[in-house]
């Protein structure tokens, strides 16, 4: 099988290139290979779209500094501040 034919039929390689493209850079050759694969493979096109979506969602979620669903309970916080005050008074 020629190298081009290989990528055309290889979804494992294509999904790998999708990931590589999302965080880095593809070589010229890889860009062409991926484009040809995606042209003929709707399953990998879905993968690519969803992979991008996952990245965006994860980034948005983790970067939102005010995330109301994750909170420490008040008792723990009170204890913690108490502990800090103790340390401050030590010196």
């Amino acid at each position: 099988m020629g190298p081009l034919k290989k990528i055309v039929y290889n979804c494992k390689q294509a999904t790998f290139l999708i990931e590589k493209k999302l965080i880095g850079r593809l070589t010229f050759r890889e860009t062409i290979e991926l484009r040809i694969h995606l042209y003929g493979c709707s399953v990998c096109r879905i993968f690519g779209k969803q992979s991008q979506l996952i990245n965006t969602m994860v980034q948005q979620f983790f970067r939102s500094t005010d995330n109301p669903s994750v909170r420490l309970d008040d008792d723990f916080k009170q204890e913690l501040q108490h502990r800090i005050e103790e340390e401050l008074n030590k010196n």
Binding site: V43, F47, N55
Partner: protein
């Protein structure tokens, strides 16, 4: 008493505890560990308070301390998984045939949320979090350091002691598993 006017530890818990906790929890998936870390960060910060010059904000400074502690934990968790950290993921399905074709039962299917602003889709977000929690620790470490903290790949490889080729294998397999988990749980 503390002489450094650039910091105010009396307000630390009120101002930063929840933020640091969320930060740690997202990267470790362990509530107890995340809580302990918040405490450790504050105590460590007190110890070196005199060295804080106020060049960055208090929050940035505290977050940097937390980051280093998280990386220490990643390292401890991943030592022993020198090859690739697949040990925990033996149940991981084989997505592809030997020739690289998808197994038909693993074909990606539309989630059905792609077009109606999933970023504000709360339930979908929760499923995503749950799926992240299923990842092996080393994979989660690589994933968050790359996608959330956007650290350069060579730095991640050095910090976590993974080779460049293993880094790429982990990036690929993490996404395959994460996406499959979303599909399985959501649809």
């Amino acid at each position: 008493m503390l002489a450094n006017p650039a910091i105010n530890p009396h307000k630390w818990v009120e101002n930063y505890a929840d933020y640091l906790y969320a930060y740690a929890l997202g990267r470790l998936n362990d509530e107890e560990q995340a809580r302990d870390l918040v405490q450790e960060v504050f105590l460590a910060a007190l110890e070196r308070a005199d060295r804080f010059e106020g060049k960055s904000s208090e929050r940035t400074w505290l977050t940097a301390i937390l980051k280093n502690k998280i990386i220490d934990i990643y390292r401890k968790k991943s030592s022993g998984l020198t090859t690739i950290g697949i040990a925990n993921a033996e149940q991981e399905p084989d997505f592809f045939w030997e020739d690289g074709h998808w197994h038909e039962e693993h074909w990606p299917k539309e989630f059905g949320v792609e077009d109606n602003d999933p970023l504000h889709h709360k339930e979908f977000n929760q499923v995503l979090q749950k799926c992240m929690q299923k990842l092996p620790p080393l994979w989660l470490a690589v994933f968050t350091m790359k996608h959330i903290d956007e650290q350069p790949t060579p730095a991640i490889c050095t910090e976590l002691k993974v080779s460049d080729s293993n880094f790429w294998v982990i990036i690929h397999r993490t996404k395959l598993n994460l996406r499959a988990c979303l599909q399985k749980t959501w649809i």
